[in-house]
């Protein structure tokens, strides 16, 4: 087995599950996450010859996955706009019909509140809340300053609080 393929398989073994949860926290639906993971690992395979180890593997993988996920969310929003689906409806779709949703009503409400956030705020919030990543790590992954991330998280937190008390 060539060296690159062996390294790729090691990455799949080690990171496919945490990456799944990273994407799922953002996207919500299992099916969408599954499709996205295929795309992400194809990108990883294609980018491997150019990966020089300037950043660590974790940051590199999470950056690819995050960009791919944000692009998916943007496309979904445009698709929704073209088919005249209200964004609220799109946000509701994320939580409601998923057969792999295990939470109670409070968690369902939290998911809806997170799904209603703009992409960047949703990203920062899920990476902090669900993945316990530091602002410095998120900054390396997203290329956004720590200050801007803290502001985004604060705004996201306030919006969620407001959404849950309405």
């Amino acid at each position: 087995m060539p060296e690159q393929e062996k390294y790729f398989n090691d990455l799949v073994k080690k990171y496919s599950e945490p990456l799944y949860w990273h994407v799922r926290a953002m996207v919500g639906s299992h099916e969408d996450t599954d499709d996205l993971l295929q795309e992400i690992f194809i990108k990883v395979w294609n980018a491997m010859p150019r990966f020089r180890g300037d950043s660590d593997v974790f940051t590199w993988l999470w950056r690819i996955a995050t960009n791919e996920t944000l692009s998916h969310l943007r496309k979904a929003r445009v698709r929704a706009a073209l088919s005249f689906v209200r964004i609220d409806t799109e946000a509701e779709r994320i939580s409601d019909p998923d057969p792999y949703f295990d939470g109670n009503e409070a968690l369902r409400a939290l998911r809806k509140a997170i799904a209603s956030l703009p992409d960047k705020q949703r990203l920062v919030f899920t990476m902090r809340y669900y993945e316990d990543l530091s602002y410095e790590q998120i900054s390396e992954i997203t290329g956004t300053s720590v200050g801007a991330l803290k502001a985004s998280y604060h705004i996201a937190y306030e919006k969620i609080k407001q959404h849950l008390t309405e």
Binding site: F8, W21, Q38
Partner: protein, 88 residues
């Protein structure tokens, strides 16, 4: 990590995911001629369309007398030059 996430996956999902993802290198290293074929077809179409437009726009239509007169006036040709040309 997923303790707080209220989600689950189908049973045995991560095993099947890993096996599907591990097949990516074999699929990606196979020679994919589709983009090259698409490029060749696009290029041929471009040449055909360009050729069609070019031949259509340069197809010789006899100019009317009015058009010739207007051209001569616009180009500042004098009567003397015209007479010389006719005599010639």
């Amino acid at each position: 990590m997923n303790k707080k996430l209220p989600y689950s996956t189908p049973s045995g999902y991560f095993d099947s995911l890993q096996s599907r993802l591990s097949r990516i290198p074999a699929r990606r290293t196979r020679f994919n001629f589709v983009p090259y074929l698409a490029l060749a077809v696009s290029f041929s179409l471009l040449v055909l369309i360009g050729n069609y437009i070019l031949t259509k726009s340069t197809a010789s239509q006899p100019a009317s007398d009015e058009a010739i007169i207007e051209y001569l006036i616009d180009s500042g040709t004098t009567l003397a030059q015209l007479e010389n040309a006719v005599d010639y």
